[in-house]
Symmetry: C2
Amino acid sequence: MDNKEKLRKVGLRPTKQRMIIADILLDGINRHFTAENLQNEINSSGNSMSIATIYNCLKKFRNCGLIKQVESSKDTAIFDTNINQHHHFLDEETGELIDIENDEVNLHKLPKIPQGYLNNGVEVLIKIKKQI
Amino acid sequence: MDNKEKLRKVGLRPTKQRMIIADILLDGINRHFTAENLQNEINSSGNSMSIATIYNCLKKFRNCGLIKQVESSKDTAIFDTNINQHHHFLDEETGELIDIENDEVNLHKLPKIPQGYLNNGVEVLIKIKKQI
DNA sequence: CAAGTAGTTTAGAACGATTTTAAAGTAAAA
DNA sequence: TTTTACTTTAAAATCGTTCTAAACTACTTG
Ligand SMILES: [Mn+2]
Ligand SMILES: [Mn+2]
Ligand SMILES: [Zn+2]
Ligand SMILES: [Zn+2]
């Protein structure tokens, strides 16, 4: 399925701008990135795009499930092209995130979900720091 | 140990402002809050404080281990008075966080920490959503 | 295809959270 | 007590992100 179809399938019009972003993000390679990182990649690919459009697209892509947004206490939003349930190592010094595939973690015991709520995904974050 | 001692012990001068904040935060009750939430509590207690001072103190308190900062993709920083290793339920709709005590989760299998790094804490986030 | 219309892009302004500045104030050290 | 280093503050600055409103474009309908 090409990117045009992927966009159509989630109900997004395949505009020129969304196709440029899809060509960068939906190539099957997992990456973590900010809006500014993406703008740099767009520029490097010989294109250019308003930062407002980049934010618009990232929000649409995220809401349609084409990408995820990472929970992060940094002040810049971090997005993730790995949309499978998975986990992360985080180096808090540098902010670097490393994927952990779902089957590398085994949660033996989980607490009861609060009354009236449904489980909507479990994420494990392993904070790491450089050995001295 | 009173709050003045607690501050001294972590190497912070017990200034008037830090004592006001310590009196609110270090009362043994676990809570999640923003800088603005705290400013409101300070105001309600009959005191007042510059927002810059509140941010200064929260950063110092966090760096000294008196409070934690939660990983959150919201744009406002969320702090946590529960400094034990623990986990959270997150309602992504509302942003509400609920503590999960450490012994309510059992991680059976963990991935190998990357070469040259040390494990610096594991956090489990269980996203929940309201049942319809 | 030819309108029509609903959705999209954009530059720039606006916004909200946080940090910086620099001057005045305070705690601890000498 | 004097000195020194640290802290607080209001206000300005900064930074990431969203809003505005006008121009543009993809899709729909005839
Ligand atoms: Mn955040
Ligand atoms: Mn932000
Ligand atoms: Zn990831
Ligand atoms: Zn907590």
